[in-house]
């Protein structure tokens, strides 16, 4: 009954608004460019998306005092428990890190995005482009990142270098899979944790007889040496090479679209009979076909799977992963 009621409300709403229903369900309408522009407000780290307009530190100071200072403090010091915007340099690796625009924020352009999108807290997206340019400039000024005479616009904003930008990097470690094992599985009682990821793996609950080396208990500075979790198994199923482990991440991002389901005649991952003849041609042939593309009797392999953003090494690693997982 409830569903029926709701459906009838939709029908009435459509009839009143006069929108022509579209698509197989007969509801909704195609978004106009104006509608899309209303949603498309993101600013990328490289500054793509920054609108025209201009602001200054002096104008930003007045706006900041009127709209921001009641929470963030006159000097960005933060009122009460509201976010601190300035200071905190050099505290990120201490016991009480203070994350501010100056000490933490990676790009000036995304500061613009954040202010425009979410501030002021009580009235988000109420600021004009010029107001955001001015306020963002003043926040940068509070952090001594720009000088008092800084004129902020699309060009100058992409040139601002944030102090902490270098400490952000792309984590290229392969994804971790939590695959289920049904046969020939390792016996958990034989696991021996050799090392833990310092600061990530919780170690406080480890007991003294759990097989964890004593230097992994909380508070022991020597635990900082470890950067990976290795499990020594008594039964090893398939050990992937280093290249294959790197390739697994590439596979998950690019190759699995076809090689998981067999679209376009692609040999499926783990399909031993489908791979055996191909592996027989040698790795060089496989790598060549994967990088440069290949038209075979069964199907087609686009060059780099159609993802030209991949490097040759990425593709070679992904091939290694698929071959090792399909033997």
């Amino acid at each position: 009954m409830f569903k029926y009621l709701r459906f009838s409300v939709v029908v009435v709403a459509l009839a009143v608004s006069g929108i022509v229903p579209a698509g197989p369900l007969g509801i909704g309408s195609t978004a106009t460019p104006e509608m899309i522009a209303g949603w498309d407000i993101d600013i990328r780290p490289d500054g793509v998306g920054l609108p025209p307009g201009q602001g200054s530190v002096a104008e930003g100071e007045l706006l900041y005092e009127a709209k921001c200072a009641s929470c963030h403090g006159l000097f960005g010091e933060g009122e009460g428990r509201w976010p601190v915007l300035a200071g905190g340099e050099g505290t990120l690796d201490t016991l009480h890190p203070e994350k501010t625009v100056g000490s933490y924020w990676p790009y000036a352009s995304t500061l613009w995005d954040y202010i425009y999108r979410a501030m002021p807290y009580t009235a988000p997206q109420s600021l004009s482009n010029e107001e955001v340019y001015s306020i963002a400039a003043y926040v940068l000024y509070l952090n001594d990142i720009v000088e008092e005479d800084f004129v902020s616009n699309k060009e100058t904003f992409t040139q601002v270098k944030m102090p902490n930008e270098e400490n952000f990097f792309i984590d290229n470690r392969p994804d971790v899979q939590n695959g289920r094992c049904f046969e020939n599985c390792a016996d958990p009682s034989t696991f021996k944790i050799v090392t833990t990821i310092n600061g990530v793996t919780p170690t406080g609950h480890f007991k003294e007889d759990s097989g964890v080396a004593a230097n992994h208990y909380e508070g022991n500075p020597s635990a900082a040496s470890g950067s990976e979790l290795r499990i020594e198994k008594s039964v090893t199923k398939v050990a992937l090479s280093k290249e294959a482990l790197l390739g697994r991440g590439v596979y998950d991002k690019a190759c699995q679209t076809c090689h998981n389901s067999g679209i376009a005649g692609a040999p499926k991952l783990g399909d031993v009979s489908g791979w055996v003849d191909r592996i027989g041609q040698g790795m060089d042939t496989l790598n060549d076909h994967a990088i440069n593309g290949y038209q075979g009797a069964d199907g087609v392999m686009p060059a780099k799977g159609g993802n030209m953003a991949l490097s040759d090494d990425d593709v070679v690693n992904a091939v290694a992963y698929m071959v090792e997982a399909s033997r």
Binding site: E65, G73, L74, F75, E77, G87, L142, D144, E147, P221
Partner: protein, 101 residues
């Protein structure tokens, strides 16, 4: 860039001053991880002058927080100059000047 930021605004003959000084204000009681003490380093005196006349003085000690924030009032008018300066226990000084709005 100066370590002192000042905002001074006049209303009804009284200037409302707010200032923030960037300073570590180490008490000398904190210890590093290896157990050695972090040497004390804190602001001892703060002075505010307007038109050659001292309008405010403060004697700080180790109970004042890092990056001290200070607010006070004095009798003055729009367009007056205001200079705030500090001196710390290592003899370092800094000062900043602004015009009352």
């Amino acid at each position: 860039m100066s370590s002192i930021r000042i905002k001074a605004k006049e209303r009804n003959g009284s200037v409302d001053v707010k200032t923030l000084m960037k300073h570590n204000m180490e008490t000398g009681l904190r210890k590093k991880k290896d157990g050695s003490k972090i040497p004390e380093h804190w602001i001892t005196d703060v002075t505010a002058e307007s038109g050659g006349k001292v309008v405010f003085v403060a004697a700080f000690n180790t109970s004042i927080s890092k990056d001290p924030y200070l607010a006070f009032k004095f009798a003055g008018k729009k367009g007056d100059s205001l200079t705030i300066s500090w001196k710390d226990n290592k003899g370092k000084t800094d000062s900043a000047e602004t015009i009352v709005k």
